[in-house]
Symmetry: C2
Subunit: 353 residues, 2 copies
Amino acid sequence: MSSRTPKPSDDEALQSGRRRATINDVARLAGVSKKTVSRVINRSPSVRPETREKIEAVIARYGYAPDPQARGLAFRRSFLIGLIYDNPNPQYVVNMQLGLLDGMKGSGFELVVHPCDRGSTTLVPDIRAFIERQKLFGVVLTPSVSEDEAVAEMLREIGCEYVRVASIAVDAEAHSIVTRDRHGGLLAGRHLAELGHRRLGFISGPDRFRSSHERRGGFEEGLKEHGATLSADCVAEGAYTFESGMEAAARLLALKDRPTAIFAGNDEMAAGALHAARQAGLSVPEDLSVIGFDDFQIASRVWPPLTTIRAPTREIGRLAADRLLGVMEGDKRDPEWRMPSLVVRGSTAAPKG
Amino acid sequence: MSSRTPKPSDDEALQSGRRRATINDVARLAGVSKKTVSRVINRSPSVRPETREKIEAVIARYGYAPDPQARGLAFRRSFLIGLIYDNPNPQYVVNMQLGLLDGMKGSGFELVVHPCDRGSTTLVPDIRAFIERQKLFGVVLTPSVSEDEAVAEMLREIGCEYVRVASIAVDAEAHSIVTRDRHGGLLAGRHLAELGHRRLGFISGPDRFRSSHERRGGFEEGLKEHGATLSADCVAEGAYTFESGMEAAARLLALKDRPTAIFAGNDEMAAGALHAARQAGLSVPEDLSVIGFDDFQIASRVWPPLTTIRAPTREIGRLAADRLLGVMEGDKRDPEWRMPSLVVRGSTAAPKG
DNA sequence: AGCGCGGTTGATACCGGTGTCCGCCCTGCT
DNA sequence: AGCAGGGCGGACACCGGTATCAACCGCGCT
């Protein structure tokens, strides 16, 4: 049975949806060559409107969708986008994924996830193998891998599209999504300063996260607007984890002249600060104000509910996907922005006395 | 330039790793046909050991790895595994992903994620389109989609391998990973009963989650061991969310003869119960014991830290991946089990008086 | 020696798309 | 009318693998 003259049962199977249509079916049914169908799929301008419509009708009629594998094989690149992350916070990861998926919806691309360990000595080759194996169209990197220059260098070298989500523009604009952490820090500083706090503490994230520095920078800026300052002895480094936040806060609270308010680099550490305060016999917000960053679920679960900075993680994810897909479409529209915002709950108040 | 006699520069590129080796390169360099190389890759037994070794040497020498796209095209199936979920808890999702990735490591498969909405009227066609578009090798379903028979029916119909993670064996053994929620519930019941509680409350998850029923069933079983019972008026339905837990707990605490201990269907709702208790002026665990389920991060962040049932989510994910890949390898080894376990923290104590 | 047989191997088609390149047709110009 | 040129469409090779099937090998048999 020649492929040019498929047996009737084949067409029946097509009709009933039992068999997926191929480009050959579409071409045959539309009375054109498969190359012309391919042109329609790929939006080539050199197809007469009349021909195009005829083909599109057949495509719609039979619900034809090109096979990404075959297309990928010919294109030498798959229709997959990778999410490469080392951020240990589940909520961040999931929100980012949801945002990416939002942006990819209807594009025909799929998302494949790839957690990694930035401390690993094989980080770069591991990521490279991941990309080359599946010939990924592009990848999205989130902090802190997104801040790794060796990784970015490798991506450029192998010619893989990428978008880096980071606190500052770590790369050319086309490759960066900036999270405006500095602005978030500023909002936190303003809020505490406006409440009247003058003796402030800061629990930073790990040094390798750019956001640690940005959030602190913004915080100091916000304080300065109201004449307050952050003294060096009131800064403790944490690791963006609950336990590290608890320990860092305990250190700050043991200070002779302890701060009346603490800005923790993220909600996890702020939750730790709450525990430390309780252990130190201090009540929040009466004796100590605490403000977090992220506004993840935990912020409203702890007691008192955390005043925090809401980071639009999901939106950021959507923007990242838009940017990445835009590269392919040659699309250059500027995505709109979403800034971090202040969410006031119960963990901050004016200082006593 | 014929493909039979590649120009020297091609081989140089191969040597230096600038060009990925193809099956043709390997065949040429090993002095065999590409079909024989294919046989080695696919572990066909009908290759002489001598030939096999020669080919394997070339493969190792040039770091050849078959192209999943091309392989997929020929196999009519991709080397991707889908995670289909509708569980809104980020921690669950991330742990599950990590577990799946653990189990897939080194297998050459990649994980693509697909959140869905079980309430959607297009649930089944959406999932089907997702699978057929990328010709997924198989999928892993988690609660509550995993408990949807229409979805399972569709998967069987299109011949997609699948594993359903659920509270009970919802399918043939080869397709089920059972989370033993009942046992977790039993541990919770035992714990509270042993502490001396006799007036107990239960906040269930939504009815459509099988785990809601299993956890309750196990709970009652555990209570019964010690002569305690769960009265129907002390059961409130929640939605596995913080807010719903808070509301449900408030209802239970408003009862004339309020329970002295509450088992919440998950940690989120237990955290909500903690808030409700605080609003009712009760202190935990003095006036009320609360026990959760999952042992996600939130359990140790709230105050007091939650006594809870640890569900080995990541392990479960690994088992699911093992099972799915096992299907391909024709592997039939029984995966070992991990049961939920009790983690005692500060939210449970003996009742007063 | 001739034959049949099972284990190995390779030539070729094929999976479902895309690129190259050439020929066709229609148009507008001289 | 004849010709150049651009828009349009198709034949064919190719992407990197796998399946089919026949050829080939050496062996034991009669």
